[in-house]
Symmetry: C2
Subunit: 296 residues, 2 copies
């Protein structure tokens, strides 16, 4: 199997797109028809809500699959429906991969080594079940590295073995991200985000594919263009996953500096701006074209 | 309903125990009889594995419920079994609460505000489903605050509304925790862990119960006794959740300084050391008594 970063680069070139769609369903925001059909078939149950999530996601995937390279289901929204929601998450991941899309599970998982191993198996690697090998449903996972290297190592091993990727939180898109991430370290005189960027660059050095890119990427908010520019130079070989486009205020101009000169190295996410748009396909098309203009 | 910290203090006093059992099932480590029974009834399926998890947890809970105040299921191990694993997690939480135990879901969740809201609903608050209100299955959740205040606020709101608690990662028990957490900040001249401690103290100030303790606690590794001592003075009103006892090397002497003079303020976790012991009840009893000697 191909290195994850190479798969990503190949998909971006084939589709001429750097768009990733956030699949963040919320029951109150889904089209009425989808919800009512699920209720009619399964009653007022959690399963009906999960069926509505999956139906909605299938519709979005079918609408945009030739315009986007990846989908990013946000685990929080599925976890709201408990195990039924996780069923919808799993079905969504399978459906997206069959549609030729890469799947980035947005779980921001983190724990000590032995537990991080379990997360790595859960999403990326696989589980040995009574002698049968089951494979994880995602191509990549977002990871929070507050715990340092040994909380990340198990993911790196899994990325090697299964050709998967991770995106480590570096500078997040929210207003308070600076509370910790903008703090300057006394020894290096750089921000915590930049320090994390150096970690990402170093941790990903063994996972560089033929494309020159590493399967260890970074989450960098589209809402902090100056930071993105600086972080680009810290992590030239890492793919940036940029949330915060659209609904959170990030524009195409804001993300321009997150790309390398080859027009690669960044994947821009929109969730609400596409999935809850009146016409999701038109919204994805517009976003794709806007981004292609700025990535040179 | 009672403030979470007050419930915790009441349970500690009633049971004369500060032990929390980590419920971290792994298929290969469960008693053969439990696994074979599940296989016989459900075949070689994910559901059989989930049934084995739940049966195992029930056995542990029944064995130790009068000796411990809380259980801490680690989400990673349930997520390995996908939606079936989450079913086992949910059933375990319900069973533990019926047995009079507090449930701390160890998910180390984190995200931007609107998504953190979804996590808060998923575990602590509840979901409105077709007009029916479903309540979250846990009393508290571990949270990673790399994203800063606005990623934590939704949890604080839920703690107020539903009398729940959170434990924020401050200094984790793993060897690499210092990669980021021991870095000194240029402005304050304190470690990132200590900075996080100050955040915890401030974020929890509106959630202090009649016991004088806050429902916003801190995760502080039992493996760093010197740090625990310092952090105790930074967060006098926060409960510490101390992982790393036993299998990871932390001893009763190591956690002594994590308690306040009233013998409260800390909850010590053991997972492997109890659940995979030859006699889980004896292991829990020994741990309870060892800790009661040092907490004065």
């Amino acid at each position: 199997m191909q290195n994850f970063a190479d798969s990503l680069v190949a998909a971006i070139k084939a589709k001429n797109s750097v768009v990733c769609v956030g699949l963040d369903p919320q029951l109150g925001k889904l089209p009425k028809g989808i919800v009512e059909k699920a209720q009619a078939e399964h009653g007022n149950t959690l399963h009906a809500a999960a069926v509505a999530f999956f139906s909605f996601n299938k519709w979005i995937i079918d609408s945009v699959k030739d315009l986007v390279v990846a989908v990013k289901p946000q685990l929080a929204f599925y976890e709201e429906l408990g195990h039924e929601g996780i069923w919808a998450f799993e079905e969504t991941c399978k459906y997206a991969r069959e549609a030729g899309l890469l799947v980035i599970a947005d779980g921001k998982r983190n724990d000590i080594g032995s537990t991080a191993e379990a997360y790595a198996r859960a999403f990326l690697g696989g589980v040995d079940l009574f002698g049968v090998k089951l494979t994880g449903v995602a191509d990549a996972l977002t990871v929070n590295a507050y715990l340092g290297l040994d909380g990340v190592k198990p993911f790196l091993g899994t990325c090697h073995e299964y050709s998967r990727g991770i995106f480590i939180l570096v500078r997040t898109s929210n207003p308070s991200s600076g509370d910790l991430q903008a703090r300057i370290t006394a020894d290096e005189g750089i921000s915590v985000a930049e320090l994390m960027g150096h970690f990402v660059e170093s941790w990903g050095s063994d996972l560089i594919g033929e494309s020159g890119y590493s399967s260890v990427g970074a989450v960098v908010g589209a809402t902090y263009p100056e930071e993105a520019k600086k972080l680009r130079s810290v992590m030239p070989k890492s793919f940036f996953l940029l949330p915060g486009f659209g609904a959170q205020g990030g524009t195409a101009a804001d993300v321009a500096d997150a790309f390398n000169e080859d027009g690669l190295g960044a994947l821009v996410v929109s969730a609400r701006g596409i999935i809850f748009a009146e016409d999701p396909r038109a919204a994805a098309l517009e976003m794709r074209d806007e981004l292609n203009k700025v990535r040179g």
